[in-house]
């Protein structure tokens, strides 16, 4: 019942937000500074682009509301690529040729983002992937950066949570069979083994999969005492629903990527009791989190999810980089990325880049469990 109402509200709020976003009153004047965004607004991943926009717009409201960058407003130019490589390379050329653009954000999926990397690297425009966890993403060169949480960082936290805290000993892993899911699963399994648990089944599924019953029966036959999902919220919700239908009764935990109010909406009662290790949690008392969550809720009438948070964090980060940069040359932006320290971050708490890997280290996480249709902090009760 709750879900229905929030949905409608979110629909209207999004409409309102659109019209409001364009008429922010207290904007600094002056020539705007532009970030280029390459991402999906149509096609199968369009929902993520839409979520990005919400996070971006919120961060821009705050940056521009407090004087912008050196008296100039910060804006973004969002080019839809459908997360299709042949479009990301064209958009990359567009961005590198557009002198107003100081850095590029995106794209969403690895094949699309990484196809464009040689162009950005060659042209000397920072490509900043904030959802790109592919282990090789930043490898093409010194202009390719990412604040996407490295799975080498995140998954050990998950493994520690489920093995040490929740007490899983025989774990079945279901993972999205993409570069991200696969890398995550490998890191998770390695750490879980190190902690003395056994991975009794591991099943990779395709992104457009809807039916998991057979997979779950297979998993059930491996007699696990806990299920771990490396999933996004939509597929995660499908899995938890079907798990209960196929008689899989063991506790379920999932990586932070399922963190979204939508997970609970889509998973309905089956989402009860699912554990996760979210990178941010609305009830986290840290000020950056609280300001994000409350302003987000005020603007869109719904709780933010992980993708909203990454997008927001990224623009906030660039706000700081641009403020600190001595000038707006593209190379200076790159150098400043290496220099910025402890940028307030919803995901990291304080974000600092390792100039060697051009990634942020040290993801934080909050240990959560779904109770009464909400994500709440885990109460410390073991399952096994």
């Amino acid at each position: 019942m709750i879900s229905r109402r929030t949905l409608l509200q979110s629909g209207t709020a999004a409409l309102l937000a659109n019209s409001v976003g364009r008429s922010i009153a207290a904007e600094p004047t002056g020539e705007p500074i532009y970030l280029g965004v390459s991402g999906p607004l149509t096609g199968p991943n369009a929902q993520y682009g839409a979520q990005w926009k919400q996070g971006f717009d919120l961060a821009l409201d705050q940056i521009n509301g407090s004087g912008g960058i050196k008296g100039r407003p910060l804006r973004y130019i969002f080019e839809d690529t459908q997360s299709d490589p042949k479009q990301t390379v064209a958009v990359a050329q567009k961005f590198v040729a557009d002198k107003r653009i100081v850095a590029e954000l995106g794209d969403f999926a690895s094949p699309a983002s990484m196809a464009a990397s040689p162009i950005y690297q060659r042209a000397g425009l920072v490509q900043f992937g904030f959802t790109n966890s592919h282990p090789a993403f930043t490898k093409p060169g010194d202009f390719i950066w990412s604040n996407s949480v490295s799975q080498a960082d995140e998954q050990p936290l998950n493994a520690t949570y489920v093995v040490n805290k929740l007490g899983f000993k025989r774990i079945a892993v279901l993972y999205l069979n993409t570069d991200w899911g696969r890398t995550s699963k490998d890191h998770f399994a390695a750490k879980a083994k190190e902690l003395g648990a056994e991975v009794v089944a591991s099943e990779g599924y395709q992104p457009d999969e809807k039916d998991f019953r057979s997979t779950l029966v297979r998993v059930r036959d491996a007699k696990p005492d806990g299920l771990f999902l490396v999933s996004y919220y939509a597929d995660g919700a499908l899995i938890v629903r079907q798990a209960r239908q196929t008689g899989v009764t063991v506790p379920i935990a999932a990586s932070s990527s399922i963190y979204s109010p939508k997970f609970i909406e889509l998973g309905a009662e089956a989402s009860e009791g699912v554990f996760t290790n979210a990178r941010f949690f609305p009830e986290d008392p840290r000020p950056e989190v609280q300001s994000f969550v409350t302003t987000f809720q005020a603007k869109y009438g719904k709780e933010p999810d992980a993708f909203n948070a990454y997008a927001y964090d990224t623009v906030v980060l660039f706000g700081q980089v641009l403020r600190e940069a001595p000038n707006l040359d593209r190379t200076t932006i790159r150098d400043t990325l290496a220099r910025v320290k402890d940028v307030p971050s919803v995901v990291y708490g304080k974000a600092t880049f390792d100039p060697q890997t051009r990634r942020v280290l040290g993801a934080q996480s909050a240990q959560l469990v779904v109770r009464n249709g909400r994500f709440t902090l885990w109460d410390g009760v073991k399952t096994n």
Partner: protein, 607 residues
């Protein structure tokens, strides 16, 4: 194992769901000989109508269903009236393209109206569950099964017992003859589309409730599985579609049980190919049957190709070469580079589908084979890039031909369905064959293109090399077409029976068409891989196969200049529509529909 019972039940449950779509697809194919790619979109529309009914209007379940049935049926009628019927006299491939265009338009409209976010469709039935085996099934499972079987039964009765059913069957058997004996074929089509769409719409809402999630993009995958199920049951055979769906579900379920989840679709598509090769009329066809499509010159209607004068072509080529010097616009140059690479794909497909009549819907697989061969040889084994690109072309030619060879014995739409399946199989093998392909991680750090040992980074330089390769292969293809092979392949396309009677071995010439086309596509895929520096199993996906076909049809089947023009148009259009942001794919779909409607033989005409 004790779980086989559970796996069987699970297979039946998912098969149930496939059945809802397969029945409609079978009905439409039976009467119109059309693979309706818009069917999945009707399913999407049905799901969203259901969502509005449940979540906004708060209608009770029977009213929800009634609303969906009515609106989906109306949509079906509109599709038939405005999308399909105007193309009655057009090449037989045109309606196929029209349904693809329609599916773009419908999916995008839904996405714009309802946002791309997944939505939940609250179930309106009591959550009563029946324990069975180790799991349980719900009321909705039974309802879906019931609706599927009832629908198939009712349809069967309708077809066998009523006057309109007789008309539908007569039309399915022989459209022209039916018209002659006074059947109102248009009315029959309208009825068929209405029924199929209503079923598809109901499928959408039930499946939405079942999974508690609907998205505007869920149609494509659903169409694919529906088609597989339909073929298994015997194309155009309504009760067969139900059995085919259940069988498909069970096979998939057993596939998962035996080898794991990532093999599910591999099983589905291998089943498809096995059925097509062993029993092309479906499992339930009697042994001694006429060839599935006895008509000749199936897809290509006579048309007068537009001959472009050689000086004009030379001037255009000169302009294309000079372009980077005339304007400094990396974006335009990159877009055109993409267009040249897709022109190669278009050339490949126009040879295979246009010249030789083998309408392939799995052409992206050739790109993938070429791309992976070149990328792996260069990145993992350090061969020089120019060599690996050629190796990519050769591998796509050889392996591609070998892989499609089981489809050589098929004709007409069956070739399309088989190649669609083969394309999926290639993608799934790439995903699963980790030791060689790196699986889902893909191939990163692919060395850049090179030109006589010098790495190529410069946008203009890449453009020129791409254009030169495209031009060279296009000229080679022109030369091929003017040789005896050109006429032989076209003879195979126009009438394979007559061709055989004159000593033309179909396998040999279809094979040569795929070999030459495979080389061209493989080069394109290899070049692309080095330009992108990273590829994985999703880089060359089914959507690219559909795009390739669109390019070939738009340009004019078999038409070399047409393939190039089609590629420029179809790669360029989405860029031109970029200002329209979220609306651009909608505009693209509409443009496609208009083109098919007013120039079904393609811009430059069929050769």
């Amino acid at each position: 194992m004790t779980s086989w019972f559970d796996h069987t039940i699970n297979g039946l449950i998912i098969g149930n769901i496939y059945g809802l779509l397969a029945v409609g697809l079978a009905l439409i194919f039976g009467v119109s000989r059309l693979i309706n790619f818009a069917h999945g979109s009707v399913y999407v529309v049905g799901a969203y109508v259901g969502w509005v009914a449940v979540s906004v209007l708060h209608t009770p379940f029977p009213v929800t269903l009634a609303l969906v049935v009515i609106l989906a049926a109306l949509l079906g009628i509109a599709i038939e009236r405005f999308g399909i019927r105007p193309l009655a006299g057009a090449p037989r491939i045109a309606p196929l393209l029209a349904t693809i265009g329609l599916s773009f338009v419908l999916d995008q409209t839904v996405q714009i109206l309802f946002s791309p976010d997944p939505r939940s469709v609250p179930m309106q039935l009591p959550n009563w569950r029946l324990e069975i085996g180790g799991g349980s099934i719900g009321m909705l499972d039974l309802l879906i099964g019931g609706i599927g079987i009832t629908a198939a039964g009712a349809l069967f009765a309708f077809l066998k017992l009523t006057k309109w059913g007789w008309a539908v069957r007569a039309t399915a058997l022989d459209r022209d003859a039916a018209r002659v004996v006074g059947v109102d074929v248009d009315q029959v089509n309208r009825i068929v589309f209405a029924i199929a769409a209503a079923l598809g719409g109901v499928g959408g809402v039930l499946v939405g409730m079942y999974y508690n999630v609907i998205t505007p993009t869920m149609g494509f995958e659903a169409t694919l599985k529906g088609i597989v199920a339909e073929v298994v049951g015997g194309v155009g055979n309504v009760p067969g579609a139900i059995v085919g769906s259940l069988l498909l579900g069970i096979i998939e379920s057993y596939g998962v049980a035996l080898l794991g989840t990532s093999y599910r679709n591999l099983f589905a598509f291998l089943l498809l190919i096995a059925i097509l090769v062993l029993r092309p009329n479906g499992l339930f066809a009697s042994r001694h049957q006429l060839p599935p499509e006895p008509m000749t010159g199936t897809f290509i209607a006579p048309s007068k190709p537009i001959g472009l004068p050689v000086p004009l072509l030379a001037a255009l080529a000169a302009f294309a070469i000079a372009l980077p010097l005339l304007i400094d616009n990396g974006y335009l140059i990159q877009t055109l580079t993409n267009a040249w690479l897709y022109a190669l794909l278009g050339l490949s497909l126009t040879l295979v589908a246009g010249t030789s009549g083998q309408v392939s819907l799995g052409h992206a697989a050739l790109l993938a084979i070429g791309g992976y061969t070149s990328a792996l040889l260069a990145a993992d084994y350090g061969f020089p890039v120019w060599l690996t690109i050629i190796a990519g072309g050769l591998m796509a030619a050889g392996l591609g031909t070998l892989l499609v060879s089981p489809a050589f014995r098929l004709r007409g739409h069956y070739v399309s369905i088989a190649t669609l399946g083969i394309g999926e199989i290639v993608a799934l093998v790439i995903l699963n064959w980790e030791s060689v392909t790196h699986g889902p991680i893909g191939v990163a750090g692919i060395p850049p293109l090179e030109f006589f040992g010098r790495p190529l980074y410069d946008t203009n330089a890449i453009y020129w090399v791409a254009f030169a390769i495209m031009l060279a292969l296009a000229l080679l293809q022109v030369r091929l077409l003017s040789s005896h092979l050109g006429r032989t392949m076209r003879a195979v396309r126009d009438d394979d029976v007559a061709a055989r009677s004159f000593g033309i071995s179909l396998n040999r010439y279809k094979g040569l068409a795929f070999a030459f086309g495979g080389f061209v596509a493989g080069i394109s895929g290899a070049f692309t891989a080095h330009m992108y520096s990273f590829i994985n199993h999703e880089t060359f996906n089914t959507h690219i196969s559909v795009l390739a076909l669109t390019i070939a049809i738009l340009g004019g089947m078999g038409n070399v200049g047409g393939a190039i023009l089609g590629a420029v148009a179809l790669i360029g259009l989405p860029e031109v529509f970029r200002i329209a942001a979220e609306y651009r794919i909608l505009l693209y779909g509409i443009a496609l529909l208009l083109l098919v409607r007013f120039r079904p033989q393609g811009l430059l005409g069929t050769v």
